[in-house]
């Protein structure tokens, strides 16, 4: 197996791995969006900014407080999650009875503010974040070289995605959540504190984005624009997957990352647009998305 369709296997598997890593980020971010959308019916436009915040908090922890990567992996989502809780309580909750489009516009404004503030303080050039010592180096798998950190990213995001899926689909808390999505008034009548559930859900979705940000920090340089362009691709992923489904977010996230990686091998010019092209094709056949229920 020296060549596969004229592509050296090293390059092929390298791109597949890169695709899988991008796919991990797509999966976590679209999962967070799906969780938030499920209960709040709001497209969280600030998701990209919150992902960027996660990376920045990790960077700050290391450079200002000397807190290492592993602790940051817990602390950053917590801090950003609390920030999300405050946003929900003081801003988003005020729009509860309005058209959901106002939620999109509000979070869009928030994204502008957050990105602008970070750009003022840190410029747009990007800050380096070292790979933690334990994950330096890589494995030679015979057919390709696997850097440890990249393997860790794919593994960690898979675990986080599956745990989230399990929590929502199989636990009691998840059942409350799904009930509140279906019928908030009735759920409240059963004695479940739905506003609290909503706030915590938003905080959890935001924390997921921040977690992805910490994972991303050592791979991409930490900069204020890192979430801005990613979020549009994630929106396309979400449209393709169909917003209703948690599993849809995970599967399409990884799948589309892979497709994007393969496109980079065979036809690099299209790699930036391939997801949008797939979105058009899916919309033509299934307007509700691959895993979505028809609205």
């Amino acid at each position: 197996m020296f060549e596969l369709l004229g592509i050296p296997p090293q390059a092929l598997f390298g791109q597949v791995l890169l695709g899988l890593i991008n796919g991990s980020f797509y999966a976590i971010l679209s999962l967070g969006l799906a969780v938030i959308f499920g209960l709040l019916n709001i497209i969280n436009f600030a998701h990209g900014a919150q992902y960027m915040m996660g990376a920045f908090v990790a960077w700050m922890c290391l450079n200002y407080l000397g807190i290492n990567y592993w602790a940051a992996l817990l602390i950053a989502p917590l801090i950003v999650g609390v920030f999300g809780v405050l946003i929900e309580r003081f801003l988003i909750a005020r729009l509860a009875n309005l058209d959901h489009l106002y939620g999109l516009l509000l979070t869009f404004g928030l994204a502008l503010i957050i990105q602008g503030l970070f750009r003022n303080n840190y410029g747009s050039s990007g800050l380096p974040y070292q790979i933690p010592d334990a994950l330096k180096g890589g494995q030679n798998l015979g057919f390709m070289f696997l850097p440890n950190y990249r393997g860790w990213v794919v593994g960690a995001s898979l675990v986080v995605c599956l745990v989230t899926w399990f929590m929502i689909e199989k636990t009691r808390l998840g059942a409350y959540l799904r009930a509140a999505t279906e019928n908030p008034t009735l759920t409240q009548a059963f004695g479940i504190n739905v506003p609290l559930l909503v706030t915590l859900t938003y905080g959890f979705g935001v924390a997921l984005a921040a977690f992805a940000g910490v994972l991303a920090a050592p791979i991409y340089s930490v900069n204020p624009n890192m979430g801005a362009d990613l979020i549009i691709v994630v929106f396309a992923v979400v449209v393709i997957g169909g917003m209703g489904s948690i599993m849809g977010a995970i599967v399409t996230g990884f799948g589309l990352g892979l497709v994007e990686g393969l496109t980079k091998v065979f036809y690099p010019e299209a790699s930036a647009t391939v997801i949008f092209i797939i979105m058009v094709l899916v919309l033509l056949v299934k307007p509700a998305g691959l895993f979505g229920r028809a609205a």
Partner: protein
């Protein structure tokens, strides 16, 4: 989604009942006043600045036609604005077309793009619609980035000739061009006013307010939505193409998704679903960008704050508030 975005609907309904004659007169007075202001503006302010405001005002008017009267939030209007600006710049520079033909080709391409994107997007509603238009527009952005033969890539198309209007009137000077842009702007505004107050516009508003009812009355809602989408795209294209001639430049900024956000902001500040609101909104935002430019990234922060404040406390926008005060739709 039909119920809340229609900020203007109740006021409009009252006005139709008893003060429609007076409202018409008021609107005519505003049109005449606006024309008078535009006539003297280049003597009072820097003409290129006023032209910039007019281009963006037309863009915001086009966007408002879709959101305010069609109830469709497109988050990808930069695509039509930017692509039209590229086409106009390209044909004016490389094919040597006269400005009116260059603008026309920009508008046509924007219309075709609007037809293709709109046909896909109207299959879903509300937030999905917004996300799909956004993602489609991002396709246009990547195309612009990766087709440097056509768009000049990161550099854009520079030194676009302003040319001679109809091969006769030289537009190289700012003054001559100013009046051409003013005429384009007023024509666009009048066209939109005409569309809104036509039977077609009334049906669009009915669909915005209650789509199932409009369908049960026998209107083909999707055809109306697509039509208003294409009209809006073409008018956005008109604005983009005109801007390319004014600044002799077509660049990536005009196709980037932040431009789509900016036009939403202009419309929101001025007043969603008001006729004249987008003009005021464009004036406010463009002036802010011009005069606060020295603040760098703070402009983004200020814009974000305005966005949040508008959504939370000021949903009617400047003109919307005035309209409420005087009890007439504006």
């Amino acid at each position: 989604m039909a119920d809340v975005l229609s900020v203007e609907a109740p006021a409009g309904a009252i006005a139709l009942a008893d003060t429609s004659r007076g409202t018409e007169r008021l609107h005519r007075a505003i049109f005449i006043g606006l024309a008078a202001v535009l006539l003297v503006a280049p003597y009072l302010a820097y003409p290129v600045f006023v032209m910039k405001v007019m281009c963006f005002a037309l863009f915001a008017l086009a966007f408002n036609l879709l959101l305010g009267y069609g109830g469709l939030l497109s988050f990808g209007h930069a695509a039509y604005f930017g692509m039209s600006s590229y086409v106009c710049a390209y044909v004016a520079k490389n094919w040597g077309l006269t400005p009116e033909l260059a603008i026309l080709s920009g508008v046509l391409v924007a219309g075709l793009l609007g037809l293709a994107f709109g046909a896909l997007a109207i299959r879903r509603q509300g937030i999905y619609f917004a996300m799909i238009t956004l993602a489609l527009a991002q396709m246009a952005f990547f195309f612009s980035l990766q087709a440097p033969k056509f768009t000049g890539g990161e550099d854009g198309i520079q030194a676009v000739p302003r040319g001679k209007l109809f091969g006769l009137i030289d537009l190289t000077g700012d003054r001559a061009l100013y009046y051409v842009v003013a005429i384009i702007f007023m024509a666009g505004l009048l066209l939109i006013y005409r569309i809104i107050h036509s039977p077609f516009g009334q049906v669009c508003k009915a669909i915005r307010d209650n789509e199932p009812r409009a369908i049960s009355l026998g209107y083909r809602a999707n055809q109306y939505k697509l039509a208003v989408f294409v009209l809006s795209a073409m008018l956005a294209g008109l604005a983009g193409a005109t801007k390319a001639i004014v600044f002799q430049l077509a660049s990536l900024t005009d196709v980037h998704w932040s431009m789509s956000g900016e036009v939403v902001l202009m419309t929101l500040v001025g007043g969603l679903g008001t006729v004249f609101g987008p003009i005021v909104g464009a004036l406010v935002i463009v002036s802010m960008q011009n005069y606060l430019a020295s603040l760098g990234a703070w402009v983004t922060v200020v814009q974000g704050v305005i966005f949040v404040v508008c959504v939370l406390l000021f949903r009617e926008g400047i003109v919307g508030v005035i309209a409420k005060k005087i009890g007439r739709p504006l």
